[in-house]
Symmetry: C2
Subunit: 166 residues, 2 copies
DNA sequence: CCTTATTATCTTGACGTCAAGATAATAAAT
DNA sequence: ATTTATTATCTTGACGTCAAGATAATAAGG
């Protein structure tokens, strides 16, 4: 099943299905199952490090989007939405919390009163600057057991797969 | 950046970081970002198909675990927990809902009154049998644009990466 | 026995998310 | 000008999840 013969959790699931439902071709389930489990593990590891910085990964997601947009670190909720794969309700909720915590502020647009700008505060900027350092270091740690060749190949395959959905 | 020169969403994020924070090595962010986005897209596609079968992916997760365990399709909550990467509170909640919907029933163990068995009902069995057919077909659809070689290689790399966390 | 530790499950309270729709302002069409 | 369509943001209500701890039964130790 695998090169070195070690069966992982997903292999056990596939073995069960093959015994119970030999009519099913469960090959894709292996890939999708591993992808999901890996994503869950990685998400938890990422969350744990960000929590030490006082940020949920949701909060970091917004602050990092503002930070990497460059000075003056201001984007509309709509622009934030485009970049973050969440619904408008979720974004409103995130902004509310970040505003309460003093990391961002809502600036009214006098030229179009439908819209606002979300701006990093000084505190928000300082926080995300430190957090992104820890986050990037953590990402290196999480992927350190993959060789350079494996990382390049994995990135190529993920990019190709992802292109089907974006 | 990519072989064919097409920049995807994650490339844009990396480009922003490289401009704003050239001191950071964001190479791992590409892999982890694509993995997360892909997992989110795939999760939504899977959810959509299962919803047509009247099941959330959470509900399907439990029913499928019971089904593939084989007859008589009974496992304890603890056994279900081991197989599903969720907390005990989440599992209790899932079982409650499935029981209300008539897909499973709790059977008391007369020899150890701390424990119960979760058993698929006839309705639950029929439902999961149909749902797994649709689910597997959907998984084939979702991965159909990858060549056999790419799928094999992706599976190899995901297995290797996942092994770091399990 | 009787106490203490362990095991198995469930409850609680908080959080993040979404779909659907509400509110409000601007733009377009006549 | 006045209506209609579009755009931008926010609100609501429901759901799934988790961490921490509560409850209850069995097992182990003295």
């Amino acid at each position: 099943m695998s090169e070195d013969g070690k069966l992982d959790h997903v292999d056990k699931i596939l073995t069960q299905w093959r015994r119970e439902r030999p009519d099913l071709d469960v090959e894709p389930m292996g890939i999708l199952g591993r992808l999901k489990r890996l994503s869950t593990h990685l998400g938890r590891e990422v969350e744990a490090v960000l929590m030490k910085q006082g940020l949920s990964s949701s909060a970091f997601d917004v602050l990092a989007t503002l930070r990497r947009a460059g000075a003056p670190h201001r984007l509309s909720p709509g622009e934030l939405l485009e970049m973050t794969m969440v619904s408008s309700g979720t974004m409103t909720n995130r902004i509310d919390q970040l505003e309460k915590a003093g990391y961002v502020e809502r600036i009214l647009n006098p030229e179009d009163r439908r819209s606002v700008l979300i701006a990093l505060t000084e505190k928000g900027l300082a926080t995300v600057e430190t957090a992104v350092d820890a986050h990037v270091a953590n990402q290196h740690r999480l992927s350190k057991n993959l060789s350079a060749a494996d990382k390049a190949e994995l990135d190529r395959l993920l990019r190709k797969f992802l292109a089907d959905f974006e």
